[in-house]
Symmetry: C2
Amino acid sequence: MTNKDARTPASVQDEKSQEAGKSIGWHKAYVEGSRPDLRVPVRQVHLTNGQSVTLYDTSGPYTDPLVDTDVRRGLPPLRDNWIIARGDTEEYAGRPVRPEDDGIKHTSPRGGLRNLDAVFPGRPRQPRRGRSGEAVTQLAYARRGEITPEMEYVAIRENVSPEVVREEIAAGRAVLPANVNHPEIEPMIIGKRFLVKVNANIGNSAVTSSIEEEVEKMTWATRWGADTVMDLSTGRNIHTTREWVLRNSPVPIGTVPLYQALEKVDGRAEELTWEIYKDTVIEQAEQGVDYMTVHAGVRLAYVPLTANRKTGIVSRGGSIMAAWCLAHHKESFLYENFEELCEILAAYDVTYSLGDGLRPGSIADANDEAQFAELRTLGELNRIAKRFHVQTMIEGPGHVPMHKIKENIDLQQEICEEAPFYTLGPLTTDVAPAYDHITSGIGAAMIAWWGTAMLCYVTPKEHLGLPNRDDVKTGVITYKIAAHAADLAKGHPGAQEWDDALSDARFEFRWEDQFNLALDPDTAREFHDETLPAEPAKTAHFCSMCGPKFCSMKISQDIRREHGGSRTEIEEGMAQKSKEFAESGNRVYLPIAD
Amino acid sequence: MTNKDARTPASVQDEKSQEAGKSIGWHKAYVEGSRPDLRVPVRQVHLTNGQSVTLYDTSGPYTDPLVDTDVRRGLPPLRDNWIIARGDTEEYAGRPVRPEDDGIKHTSPRGGLRNLDAVFPGRPRQPRRGRSGEAVTQLAYARRGEITPEMEYVAIRENVSPEVVREEIAAGRAVLPANVNHPEIEPMIIGKRFLVKVNANIGNSAVTSSIEEEVEKMTWATRWGADTVMDLSTGRNIHTTREWVLRNSPVPIGTVPLYQALEKVDGRAEELTWEIYKDTVIEQAEQGVDYMTVHAGVRLAYVPLTANRKTGIVSRGGSIMAAWCLAHHKESFLYENFEELCEILAAYDVTYSLGDGLRPGSIADANDEAQFAELRTLGELNRIAKRFHVQTMIEGPGHVPMHKIKENIDLQQEICEEAPFYTLGPLTTDVAPAYDHITSGIGAAMIAWWGTAMLCYVTPKEHLGLPNRDDVKTGVITYKIAAHAADLAKGHPGAQEWDDALSDARFEFRWEDQFNLALDPDTAREFHDETLPAEPAKTAHFCSMCGPKFCSMKISQDIRREHGGSRTEIEEGMAQKSKEFAESGNRVYLPIAD
């Protein structure tokens, strides 16, 4: 795969625009910070009226025609100098990669060695970790009053002062996921004071997708606005797939280490041990995973609380841990060893995403005792993590009817001391499989308005199958809508400028500007062209809804043209307008050949 | 078109199911009321566990294989006997239909007479109206304490007592749109105490669609759950198209008479007169239009309030009336003649949908002075309409950010004395053309939870083009999701049973039941089959998300099987469970050939 393959959407658009003899409408630009190696990417949209609009950009170097990307080489390690300059980390030999890491066993009847063809061919690297005993986390720096280049970077992205970023991280109200072994990322921040973020899940769970497809899904998801990506792969090549994804990802990558640990014990939950789990966490931390879902809140005593639920335990991690607890009738090894886990995560700056293993899987189970018992434990774990300077966010549900959503965010904020909430939807009804991006987009917008910092997307295939390329795009766009609707409702500075620019373009019939400002320019253009395909229709002062003869926006423009200025002037101008309107022929219809 | 053509979706599903050698999963059933001619249709879903679930059904006789429908003949006039038995209406010659009613002028250079081939060929009928001076509205009956067959019908549909229906109508908190000239409808009710309803718009505005296509769009929309349909046709054959739609529609039909009136003056807004408008209203009332959008709230003094808006006036009706007011510098003829209009509507039981001609067309214009000035006038008009016993609902926006939505419904309910609110979305952001079913579905769910009675759908083509068949379906399904999410949040009796039934089916891996209970069974089945096409996969105890080897629901089932019963029993059973789990081989994975 070369640059061109990885950035299909942008390329297609550019080529189409160029074919039409137009400017491309937008380009990748950079805002430079206090040092030359701190360049924050933005999407600069050029309007036909000479103005331009600057939008947040998650697509990485793939949309920059001046950067020659190659997925076999990986992205440039932007943050290497920043990490090294801090002097608190060291390279070390690292844990040897074993065939079992890729789900391949010598003893397996399937036989075979590790698939060496698939090994990531990029520059050799050694893993890095904090020097003995040192927390190398953005939280530790923020608490010491240090503004790191990463913090300055996100301050520029969010249009706030670096000090606000530092304060929010120091208070635990925001996280900046940035493993020292993932220097390729463009730093981003997750917290209620900032723009609402969207996570997209990828993963080769059904052995249906190849490594290349997973990398391509990641670049595709970030192209449409995913702020982070979780690699939920299971089965074969899990280690190698993750390596390819990490080396090519401009956004933080999250995982659920428990999935891989379970693979290593051939799916026998009761054979899981703290040692196997810990080894897997270190394996992934050395690769550069930025945040990890840890289901340490599923305690033995909570499992029976799910017995009378309509849909029991629907979280994979939650059910694995529940099965382990039942098998041994012992407290969860994740809960028991949580402090040691904190030490490991602190050494790499891996952020906790404390999993809600007991989240409700149906409307009937929302806000029940099992769910909130686990939430209280997550609050306890959050406090422990903070003692170790580990950045922490808290995962949330799930399936929740609208009137029970607010209680979720309010309780979480109270119990978890305002740690960022990271929710899956929630789905506001169970009756629409194939449309759960929408059932959950509704809940996501609401819970984000009320303070959720990041939304995990849901695709149309939820509950039914594996998302393909179109599903990933639909999921991301739906969740960008929910996130932006929340940014507007929260009054996020600058959020409305985007809406205003698009509405101005709509009112002034600047069709190309409307398309270029849209969350999905390609589909907006395609839908327009379906009814009015001709090129002149893109400069026409009407659209296909009211047809060429009559248009409410056109009349409004006339009214505004006549009545610009203050209210008094407007009222004075009324009689005059009436006269002129009559003189001009009193036509509401535009003249048109019929 | 015959029965088969009109009911494609049902037929396709039936045939597919029969091919697979299965029962069809659901059938059309009827609940009989206090008289044999009062039979309320329901969708009876048969589950594989022997239970059944009864769902509200809007699809009309088209989904009943025992009814032989024919769009050239029209639907049977269900309500004829009820209307005649009341003895307060009379047949009369009616207004002669003129070529101009179909947009055809003898003087037009296009020439030509009325397209006689298109004239509806069904049974000849004379229009009916209230005997002189009598209001023949459901509101008048309700106020007199009468429970009509229509009220009993909707009481059965809504699972409430007929007296509740009568009370809500009498108080003006609900409307039952049912023109005496549209006896074909299956009565339905719109009010916050009842299930949230969804309206779908159709209309041949760009001369791109034929009469047949409009009829087919109507049956298609109701097949997926549209509770009412607005025919927004303009241009040629407007009268005849409406006749075909009305005679074949099992749901109430709404229109905007102003659109046709404007056609009659060749698009010159200033040439509109009260006489032309009145004649058009009578024309449509005689045909059987059940509710009409009337933009009588756009008063002369409000027009300048829109001058400094970002997107001016975006309602077609609103901009036509604004242009008229400006041209004449006179008060709106709709406002001035509102009482006479009430008399006309009362004689046919046409319901008012008081239009919000000054609704905001962008986030920037939400909740502004123009919008709320008009709303206060709508409150005044609502009181006048009630004096004439005319049923009345109030239209609402539009484009509104989430934090400004509640003010809309709260103000409307206060100003309009709890008259049903009927909103278009609202769209919660302007930045996603091609996804405005979603931007607006979010706002629709919220405003419906807070008390909006009916939601006007928005399709993916909003702002871009004319909706095709797929867009209509997507719009309806999205809005059924919003409506049902609101029913759940309002705690509507029985609403959650549907979710519970589907979640039970999901938990128990009854895939066919999941599909049949889904809002869109076809797409749910298709998405499932895309990843796991084989027939055995539909009885498998896993899905493609976690694959065949591991499944959280499966573990949950084990837990529940062991821990059924009370909490104490569960806790006592824990140690036992642990023992058994170990004895059974401690397998989380299901055995599978690999």
